[in-house]
């Protein structure tokens, strides 16, 4: 596909499943295919099978953050028989002594905060933890999740993602690299 021609849709394919998705504009005036796993059980199942191939043999726990990656990680946990944990984006009333981690989100240009309740962080302690995300852009979220793993006393075993926007800048196993389209359209 010619990355300078103005197109509105992109044929997104993973694990033999294809979706025609809209291109969305970034602040930088570049455009990216919109990936949405929420509401799409078929796409989740197909992507989870692809991600399973990327899991190291010594993986013990999967780790993600809310919300869009949750159904994908649920499916991956189910087929790999591994437990998973979710870092939250808001403090919940039931949290007790949570770990609090700032994340610099490049997509919005504003900081976010991740929360991991103490009794959940104990499930990462001493474990080989795999970070799992639906889409990786700048890697800011991955770095914040990594900090949470280390602060919980766990080890970062691998980072895997269904899609990356362009070539990932950090060490990351991706099932599918997404093109970035130029400006107008």
């Amino acid at each position: 596909m010619n990355s300078t021609s103005p197109v509105d849709m992109f044929a997104l394919t993973i694990g033999g499943i294809t979706r025609d998705v809209p291109l969305v504009r970034l602040a930088s005036n570049r455009r990216l295919p919109l990936v949405e796993f929420l509401g799409d059980t078929q796409l989740c199942a197909a992507a989870a099978l692809e991600l399973q191939k990327l899991l190291p043999e010594n993986a013990q726990v999967l780790f993600t953050c809310e919300t869009s990656s949750i159904p994908l990680v649920h499916d991956l946990a189910q087929i790999s028989k591994l437990p998973y944990e979710v870092a939250r984006k808001r403090r919940r009333p039931y949290m007790n002594d949570p770990l609090i981690q700032e994340v610099a989100s490049m997509t919005l240009g504003v900081g976010e905060t991740l929360w991991l309740d103490k009794n959940r962080s104990e499930n990462l302690k001493g474990k080989q933890v795999v970070i799992v995300l639906d889409v990786v852009a700048s890697g800011g979220t991955i770095q914040a999740l990594e900090r949470l793993i280390l602060r919980s006393g766990g080890k970062v075993c691998a980072r895997v993602a269904a899609f990356s926007q362009g070539k990932p800048k950090l060490e990351l196993k991706v099932a599918q690299e997404l093109p970035i389209f130029d400006g107008v359209g």
Partner: protein
Amino acid sequence: METHRVQIGSISRDLPIIEVAPGVSVALFNLLGDAPMTEEAGKLLAAKLPSNVDVLITPEVKAVPLAHVISRITGKPYIVARKTAKPYMKTPVVREVISITTGKPQLLVIDGFDVDIIQGKNVAIIDDVVSTGGTLRSLSSLMAEIGGTVVATLTVFTEGDARDDVISLGHLPLYLKK
């Protein structure tokens, strides 16, 4: 730590009893991180889904994997009511609600793309725990506003007062200190 034992189908869990407000404690049920329980509860709730339901709707965040499983089993699409409007949404419908647990205003947001799926359809609300029903009321009126009809609510647990207006698999007590 004090716990409360629950059994859903073949799976039992000891839920920690946690104080969430002065004098108010709950048995904390969390499907996030519990794929086997999510699958079991999803299977049992899917079997109870009324046949006239066209589409499932769930509030972000904790019930998302449950709606995902029920959708996969029944083939009915599911939509997530988000807590924030996203830059990529097409003309989102936004409703402000006051959260019972935090007392803070919170948003329910439906993407314009999803409005088209809900319009003129029978909707089932999927949640993990229904307590005071505040989220239910907000979601129901939001559905009515965009032309959907809520015909059922399915939840793993009701909490506090027993209620017969939702389909559930069990009940959790509220722990109130006088």
